[in-house]
C-alpha cells in the first residue's frame, strides 16, 4: 500500500517525543499550581461573616490586645472565640444601635450564639496547640499574618503540612521574644539569623523533636 506516513512524520515523531514530556510536566505543574491556588487554600480570600467584624479597626484602630478576646490562647490548645457577652461589654455602651451589630444584640437577647465562619481550619487528624506556640515565642503574626490589616479575616498561609514543617524544621526563622508575641509588623531588634538561634536555645526548643509525627498527629 501507499505509505501512510509522510516524510514529515519523522520530524513530527521526534518533536512529539518532547511534546509528550512537556505535556506530562505541564499537567503535573498545573495540578501543583491548582493545589496551591487560593481557590483550594482560601489564602488571601476574605471570608463572609454573619457580622462584618473588622480586626483592622479593633486591633490597629483601637489597639485592643489579641488576648482580650482570644482569652485561652496562652492556656489551651484553642485560642478561644469571644462569647457574645465580650462583644457586648463594649457595644452595650457604644454603637448600641448600629445596624451592623444587630446579630450580636440578637444573640445576646436570645442566647443563641453567633455562627462565625471558620477561617483557619486544620484537618481532623492534626492536633494543634496555641498555648505552646505562644509560650515558645511564635507570634500570632507568624501564622495569621497582619491581622491588623484585615478588615474581614482571611488566611495568610496555606496551613499545608509543608508550610508547618518549614517552621518546625527551622523555628529560628520565626521565633521572637515572648513579649513580642502579639506585636503586628514585628521587626527583630537584631539580625534574626543571630536572634533566632539564641531564642531557640533560651526557650529550650527541642528542634529535632518538632518534626516527630506524634507532635501533631495522634
Amino acid at each position: 500500500m501507499a505509505q501512510l506516513f509522510h516524510r514529515s512524520s519523522n520530524t513530527l515523531s521526534k518533536v512529539s517525543i518532547f511534546a509528550v514530556l512537556f505535556l506530562i510536566a505541564g499537567a503535573l505543574a498545573f495540578l501543583y499550581a491548582y493545589h496551591n491556588s487560593d481557590y483550594m487554600t482560601y489564602v488571601d480570600v476574605p471570608r463572609e461573616q454573619p457580622v462584618q467584624f473588622t480586626h483592622e479597626h479593633h486591633v490597629a484602630g483601637l489597639g485592643i490586645d489579641c488576648r482580650y478576646c482570644h482569652t485561652s490562647v496562652e492556656k489551651s490548645s484553642f485560642a478561644g472565640i469571644p462569647p457574645t457577652e465580650t462583644c457586648m461589654s463594649c457595644h452595650s455602651q457604644i454603637w448600641t444601635n448600629a445596624a451592623i451589630l444587630a446579630p450580636i444584640r440578637e444573640s445576646f437577647r436570645t442566647g443563641i450564639p453567633v455562627k462565625w465562619t471558620r477561617v483557619h481550619d486544620l484537618p481532623d487528624y492534626v492536633f494543634f496547640n496555641h498555648s505552646i506556640h505562644v509560650a515558645k515565642g511564635i507570634g500570632c503574626e507568624s501564622c495569621h499574618g497582619r491581622v491588623d490589616k484585615m478588615p474581614l479575616m482571611w488566611k495568610a498561609n496555606t496551613l499545608y503540612m509543608q508550610w508547618c514543617l518549614s517552621c518546625h524544621r527551622d523555628p529560628a526563622k520565626n521565633i521572637r521574644p515572648r513579649d513580642q508575641i502579639v506585636t503586628m509588623g514585628y521587626k527583630p531588634s537584631e539580625d534574626q539569623a543571630v536572634l533566632g538561634p539564641k531564642l531557640v536555645n533560651e526557650y529550650h526548643v527541642n528542634v529535632k523533636q518538632l518534626t516527630n509525627c506524634s507532635i501533631c498527629h495522634r
Binding site: 485561652s72 490548645s77 492536633f127 509525627c213 506524634s214
Partner: protein, 1041 residues
C-alpha cells in the same frame, strides 16, 4: 465545639443545636444544654430510627452488608483520600462563657458508681460537658485510683443509644406528665387503703437518701410491702453472718495485712464486691519491684476456675460438695470449737494428706496475719465456718473487719421475692412497682415471675432499659444513668459518696429518687433537692415501727422487709456546722469525710456449728452427680451490661471467649461424657432445660460444670440480644448457685464459640518467665542464669536517647487478667467493637491483649497471664518496612503510628514479632450514631477503614503533659504521664514513665533482676519489659507435689 476543631468527631460537636443549647448555659447548669438537645431533630431522628445506620456494622458479616450504602460511604472516603477541597465549617462560641472554664481543656468531676449495693468513687473526665472517660478516685477506699472493666465500660453505657429514652404506657410512647397525672389518682387510692395491695420490688439499696425515701414511702403507705431482689445477690453472705452472729454484719477484708490467705471458692480478685480494693491490697503484699515486703501466700479451694484461683500459690479444684467438706476438714484441723469433719470423699482425703495440714500449719503460724474468705456463692454454713475460723485465728479486727451492713435493708432477698410471688398467687398484690432491676429476666425460673407478674392489676417498672420487665409492665419509666443523676451511695466500708451528674439526661429519663418521690405524692421534687435536703438532715417523721404490713403467710411476715433505716442522715456532711462548705467538699473530694462505718466485734452464736452442720447434711453430696454451678459472668455480671459492646467483646479472663457463654467443664469430665468443645448439650434441672455449647476448661473440677449468667437477653438492645444462652432458665430459687444432681446430655448440634486466643501452650518458648520466691531469695539472678541472653551486636552506632525516654514495665506477678486495662484502653483510644464474626476472622481491635497460657496437666494446670501491647521497640521491625513512612520512631523512643499517612499495606503488622498491630479491615468505627460521637476522646484520631493502628503509649497524654511541662520550662515529672492501662490497673501491675530518670518508678522496676524483654534475642530492644512472675508456694507442698 470551638476547641474541638482538631477532633475527628466534629459532626457531633458542631451539631448546631448542641452548641446553641450548650452555649447559653452558665456555670453548673451547662450540662442542661444536652437535655434540650434531646428535643432537637438530630436526636429525635436517632431516637425514632429503629436501627441507626452503622450500628449493625458490628454484627453483620461482610456478606450481608448493604452494597450500595457502602458504595456511597466509600466514594466519600475516596474523595477525602484524594486532595478534595475542604468543606466550609462554622465555629460557634458561647454567649456567656462559664467562669473557670477553659475551652480545649478537659475538666474532672468526682462522683461514684453504685453497683450491686456498693459504690466505687470515680473521677470522670469531661470535655465541654461531655463525659468521655472514667477514672478511679485515688482518695476513695473502694478504688484507690483504680477501677474494674465494668466501671470503665459504664461510659459506653451512658451513650448507649438503646437505653430507654421515653416513658412507655402499655409499650406506647408517653410522657412523664401523663404518668404523673395517671399515678395521682392511684396515689389517692393507695393512701385511702393505707397502701394495702401495694408492693415495691427494688434491688439492693445502699443510697442513704433512697433508703430514707423508701422509709417515707412506707410511712405514707403503712400496709405496703417492700421486697428486694438482686439476681447475683449476697444472701449466703447475709445468712452466714446471721448464722454466726445472729445479726447481719458487713464483712470487709484487709488483704494488705494478710500474709496467708485461705479462699474457700472466693473470687475476691474479680467478681466479689470490693474486688478492686482487694486486688490492690493483695498485690501490695506480693510486690517484687521496689522494696519487697516479702510475699503473701494464697491457698484456694474452688470448683470453677476463677482469676483468684489462677494466681493462687496452691489451688485445689474440688466438686462443690467436696469444697465444703474440705473447708470443714480445715476447720476441724484448726480446732475451731464445735467443728468436726463432715463427710468425706476421695478428693478431700487426698488433700488431707499434705495440703490441709500444711495449710493449717501456715494459718496457725500467722495468727492475726492471715484471713479466711468464703465466696459469695458458698452456702451460709461455709460463711459461718469462715467467720468462726477467723475468730479462732484472731483475725477479727486485724485482717477481718466487721461493720453494720452498708445496704439499707438487709434481708434474704430470694425469700423476699418468693414471698411476693406467694402474695400474687393469693391475690394480695394489686399494684407492683419494680424500682430498678429486671426480674422478668433474672428471677429464679421456678418462680415463673413473668407469668405471675401479669396477674397484677397495675404494673409499673422503672429501669434504664426498655427490657424484658418493661415489656410486661403497664408503665415503663426510663431511669437515668448514674452519670446523669444526683444521688449518693456507700462504699463497702460505709464511706459515703455524693453521686453528681456529669451531663443532663440524654433522653427523657429521671433518677430513681424522683420516681420514688412521685410515688410518694410529691411529683415536683428534683433529685438534686432530695439528696441535698436529706443531707441537710431536714427529715422529720421517724420510721414507723413496722413499715411491713402484718401480711399473712409466715414466710412473708419473716421477709416483708422490716425497714431498718435510722431517721436522719447516716453521717453528717457539714464541716464544723457549715453545710454548704461540707457539701462542696464532699462533691470536690468525691466522698464525705469520716463517713466510714465504725468497726464492731460481734460474738459467735453458741449454736452456729450445729446449725451449719445441719445445713450441710441437708445438701446432697452424691458422688456421681453432675452439679451445675451458676456464676456471674466476669464481664456482664447478671446481664445488666449485656448491651455494652465493650464488655461483650473483651475476652473473658480465663476462657478468652467473646460474645458467648458456655458450659465450662473439665477435659476429664468432657472425655468421660463424650463431649467436645462446641458440642451442644442439654442441661436439665428440675424439669427445666437449656441447650448450651460445651467448653473444655482445664483446671475445672470434675463432675460439675459452670454456667455464666447474664447472656441470652431478648430485650437488652441491638448489641446484647440473643448473645449466648440464658441460663436463668434453669436457675431455681432453692439452687441459686449450685444445682446439685443436674442432668446433661449431648445433642447432635454443634455451636461455633469464638475466642481471641486459639493456642494455649507456650510451645516451650521463652515467653512468660516464672519462678518461686524461694529461688529468688536463694539467688536474685536465678532468672538471668536460667535464660542466657545472647549478646546483641549492632553494625551501626547505637543511638542514645536524651531527655525523656518512655518505657513500661509489666509485673507478671501482679497481673490477674481482670481486663480493666483492655477496656480502659478501648475507652481512652476510641477503639471500635468489631463483633463476633470479625473476632472469629482474627480481627479483634484491642490495643492491649492479655495472653493466657496453660502449663502442666489439664486437671491442675499452671496458668500464666501476660498483658501484651505495642512494645515500642527501639529497633522496631515495623518501621523499616513501611513504604510511606507511616510508622516512625520519635525522639523519646516512641514507635509512632501516623494514621493519616497509612495506606494499609499491612507489611508492618506482618513484620511485628509480637503481632500487636491492629488493622481496620472494614469500617469498624460507628461514624453514624450521634451519641458515640459525643463519647469519643477528642484528643485521639478516630480511625477509619484501611488504616493500621496500635498502642501509642497514650501519646495524647504524653503530649499534653509535655506541653504543660515545656510551658513551665521543666522536665515531665514521674507519674505526671500515666497510660490509661497503668492508671486503671487495680494491682498496679503496669508501670509507665521516663526510663532516663533513674528515680522514676519504671526505671527502678527495670533495674530488678527479674526484669526481662520478650523475644530479646531478636534484637528489637523493646521499651516494654516484663518482671518475672514469682509464686510463693509452701515448701512442704512443693516437695510433696
Amino acid at each position: 465545639m470551638q476547641n474541638d476543631n482538631q477532633t475527628s468527631n466534629r459532626k457531633a460537636l458542631d451539631n448546631p443545636s448542641f452548641t446553641e443549647h450548650l452555649a447559653n448555659k452558665t456555670g453548673r447548669q451547662y450540662w442542661r444544654g444536652l437535655e434540650e438537645i434531646a428535643e432537637t431533630t438530630e436526636f429525635r431522628e436517632m431516637v425514632d430510627r429503629e436501627f441507626p445506620e452503622g450500628a449493625s456494622e458490628w454484627l453483620d458479616p461482610v456478606g450481608r452488608r448493604n452494597f450500595l450504602k457502602l458504595m456511597g460511604a466509600s466514594l466519600a472516603l475516596a474523595g477525602i483520600g484524594a486532595c478534595a477541597k475542604q468543606p466550609e465549617e462554622k465555629i460557634i462560641p458561647y454567649v456567656k462563657q462559664p467562669e473557670e472554664f477553659v475551652p480545649g481543656k478537659p475538666s474532672f468531676f468526682a462522683t461514684a458508681m453504685p453497683l450491686r449495693g456498693y459504690a466505687t468513687g470515680l473521677l470522670v473526665e469531661s470535655h465541654l460537658g461531655r463525659p468521655t472517660k472514667v477514672e478511679g478516685n485515688p482518695d476513695h477506699p473502694a478504688s484507690l485510683g483504680a477501677t474494674d472493666a465494668i466501671t470503665q465500660a459504664s461510659i459506653l453505657g451512658l451513650y448507649d443509644p438503646d437505653r430507654s429514652q421515653t416513658v412507655l404506657s402499655r409499650s406506647r410512647i408517653a410522657s412523664w406528665d401523663s404518668f404523673k397525672t395517671a399515678i395521682a389518682a392511684e396515689v389517692g387510692a393507695w393512701k385511702a387503703a393505707q397502701g394495702t395491695g401495694l408492693h415495691f420490688l427494688t434491688e439492693t439499696i445502699n443510697s442513704p437518701t433512697l433508703a430514707d425515701q423508701m422509709r417515707q414511702l412506707m410511712a405514707t403507705y403503712p400496709n405496703a410491702v417492700w421486697h428486694q431482689y438482686e439476681p447475683a445477690g449476697r444472701d449466703c453472705v447475709r445468712d452466714g453472718a446471721k448464722m454466726a452472729f445472729g445479726q447481719y454484719v458487713e464483712t470487709t477484708y484487709r488483704f494488705d495485712k494478710a500474709e496467708v490467705i485461705f479462699s474457700i471458692d472466693a473470687d475476691f480478685l474479680l467478681t466479689m464486691p470490693g474486688s478492686v480494693r482487694y486486688s490492690r491490697d493483695f498485690s501490695a503484699m506480693r510486690r517484687t519491684s521496689g522494696e519487697m515486703k516479702g510475699m503473701n501466700r494464697l491457698y484456694a479451694l474452688e470448683s470453677s476456675p476463677s482469676v483468684t484461683g489462677a494466681v493462687a500459690d496452691h489451688r485445689a479444684a474440688l466438686a462443690p460438695a467436696a469444697v465444703e467438706q474440705a473447708a470443714w476438714a480445715v476447720g476441724a484441723a484448726l480446732g475451731v470449737p464445735g467443728v468436726s469433719a463432715q463427710g468425706s470423699s476421695p478428693a478431700v482425703d487426698a488433700l488431707g494428706k499434705a495440703w490441709i495440714p500444711s495449710l493449717v500449719k501456715d494459718l496457725q503460724a500467722h495468727r492475726g496475719r492471715c484471713v479466711v474468705v468464703a465466696g459469695d456463692e458458698q452456702s451460709p454454713a461455709v460463711h459461718a465456718l469462715a467467720h468462726a475460723m477467723n475468730a479462732a485465728l484472731g483475725n477479727v479486727g486485724t485482717t477481718v473487719v466487721y461493720t453494720d451492713p452498708v445496704e439499707a435493708n438487709p434481708t434474704n432477698q430470694a425469700a423476699s421475692l418468693a414471698a411476693l410471688m406467694q402474695q400474687i398467687d393469693s391475690g394480695k398484690v394489686d399494684t407492683l412497682v419494680v424500682l430498678g432491676g429486671n426480674p422478668a429476666f433474672t428471677a429464679p425460673a421456678d418462680l415463673k415471675f413473668a407469668e405471675r407478674y401479669q396477674k397484677v392489676r397495675l404494673r409499673i417498672h422503672a429501669g434504664e432499659y426498655n427490657d424484658e420487665t418493661a415489656y410486661l409492665s403497664h408503665w415503663h419509666l426510663p431511669l437515668s444513668h448514674y452519670l446523669e443523676s444526683w444521688s449518693d451511695a456507700r462504699a463497702m466500708d460505709g464511706t459515703v459518696s455524693i453521686v453528681q451528674p456529669l451531663i443532663a439526661p440524654l433522653w427523657d429519663s429521671k433518677p430513681l429518687h424522683e420516681v420514688v418521690s412521685i410515688l410518694n405524692g410529691t411529683p415536683s421534687a428534683t433529685a438534686y433537692d432530695i439528696v441535698r435536703a436529706y443531707w441537710q438532715g431536714a427529715k422529720s417523721a421517724p420510721a414507723p415501727a413496722s413499715a411491713a404490713a402484718p401480711a399473712p403467710g409466715d414466710s412473708t411476715a419473716a421477709h416483708a422487709a422490716p425497714v431498718a433505716v435510722s431517721a436522719g442522715p447516716v453521717a453528717s456532711i457539714a464541716v464544723n456546722g457549715d453545710f454548704e462548705r461540707g457539701w462542696h467538699q464532699a462533691l470536690y473530694r468525691g466522698m464525705v469525710a469520716g463517713s466510714a462505718l465504725p468497726p464492731k466485734s460481734p460474738t459467735l452464736n453458741g449454736g452456729w456449728a450445729t446449725a451449719a452442720a445441719a445445713m450441710l447434711a441437708a445438701t446432697p453430696a452424691a458422688a456421681d452427680a453432675f452439679d451445675i454451678l451458676f456464676r456471674v459472668d466476669p464481664m456482664l455480671l447478671d446481664g445488666r451490661f449485656a448491651n455494652i459492646g465493650w464488655l461483650q467483646e473483651v475476652p473473658k479472663p480465663l476462657t478468652k471467649l467473646v460474645w458467648d457463654n458456655a458450659l465450662l467443664v473439665s477435659p476429664a469430665t468432657a472425655k468421660q461424657r463424650g463431649w467436645k468443645t462446641e458440642d451442644v448439650v442439654e442441661v436439665g434441672y428440675k424439669n427445666l432445660t437449656v441447650k448450651v455449647p460445651v467448653w473444655e476448661m482445664p483446671g475445672h473440677a470434675d463432675g460439675c460444670g459452670t454456667l455464666y449468667l447474664g447472656h441470652g437477653r431478648t430485650r437488652s438492645g441491638r448489641v446484647g440480644n440473643d448473645v449466648g444462652v440464658n441460663v436463668y432458665a434453669i436457675r431455681t430459687s432453692d439452687a441459686p448457685w449450685r444445682a446439685a444432681a443436674a442432668t446433661a446430655s449431648k445433642t447432635s448440634d454443634c455451636y461455633r464459640l469464638v475466642t481471641t486466643q486459639t493456642h494455649y501452650s507456650m510451645e516451650g518458648r521463652d515467653i512468660v518467665r516464672y519462678g518461686t520466691l524461694a529461688e529468688f531469695m536463694a539467688n536474685e539472678k536465678f532468672m538471668e542464669e536460667r535464660h542466657h541472653e545472647p549478646e546483641i551486636v549492632s553494625l551501626y552506632k547505637e543511638h542514645t536517647y536524651k531527655g525523656h525516654a518512655w518505657g513500661m514495665a509489666i509485673d507478671l506477678t501482679a497481673c490477674t487478667a481482670c481486663n480493666a486495662c483492655v477496656v480502659a484502653c478501648q475507652s481512652e483510644n476510641n477503639i471500635p467493637v468489631v463483633g463476633k464474626e470479625q473476632v472469629n476472622n482474627g480481627r479483634a481491635m484491642h490495643w492491649i491483649r492479655i495472653d493466657r497460657y496453660y502449663e502442666g496437666d489439664a486437671a491442675a494446670p499452671a496458668q500464666h497471664f501476660q498483658p501484651l501491647t505495642c512494645m515500642h521497640c527501639e529497633k522496631a521491625p515495623c518501621e523499616t518496612v513501611c513504604p510511606v513512612g507511616a510508622t516512625v520512631h520519635g525522639e523519646e523512643g516512641l514507635n509512632e503510628m501516623v494514621y493519616n499517612r497509612c495506606i494499609g499495606t499491612r507489611y508492618c503488622s506482618n513484620n511485628c514479632p509480637y503481632k500487636v498491630r491492629r488493622f481496620n479491615y472494614l469500617l469498624f468505627t460507628d461514624l453514624d450514631t450521634p451519641t458515640y460521637k459525643m463519647m469519643r476522646n477528642p484528643d485521639v484520631t478516630v480511625r477509619s477503614r484501611g488504616v493500621m493502628e496500635k498502642c501509642t503509649y497514650c501519646v495524647q497524654r504524653i503530649n499534653s503533659a509535655r506541653i504543660e511541662a515545656k510551658k513551665e520550662g521543666r522536665m515531665i515529672r514521674d507519674g505526671e504521664v500515666v497510660t490509661a492501662c497503668a492508671q486503671v490497673c487495680p494491682t498496679e501491675a503496669i508501670t509507665f514513665g521516663n526510663i532516663n530518670d533513674k528515680e522514676s518508678r519504671v526505671a527502678k522496676a527495670k533495674k530488678s533482676p527479674l526484669n526481662y524483654a520478650l523475644l530479646a534475642d531478636l534484637g528489637t530492644a523493646p521499651r516494654t519489659t516484663y518482671l518475672t512472675k514469682l509464686r510463693n508456694p509452701n515448701p512442704e507442698l512443693e516437695k510433696g507435689a
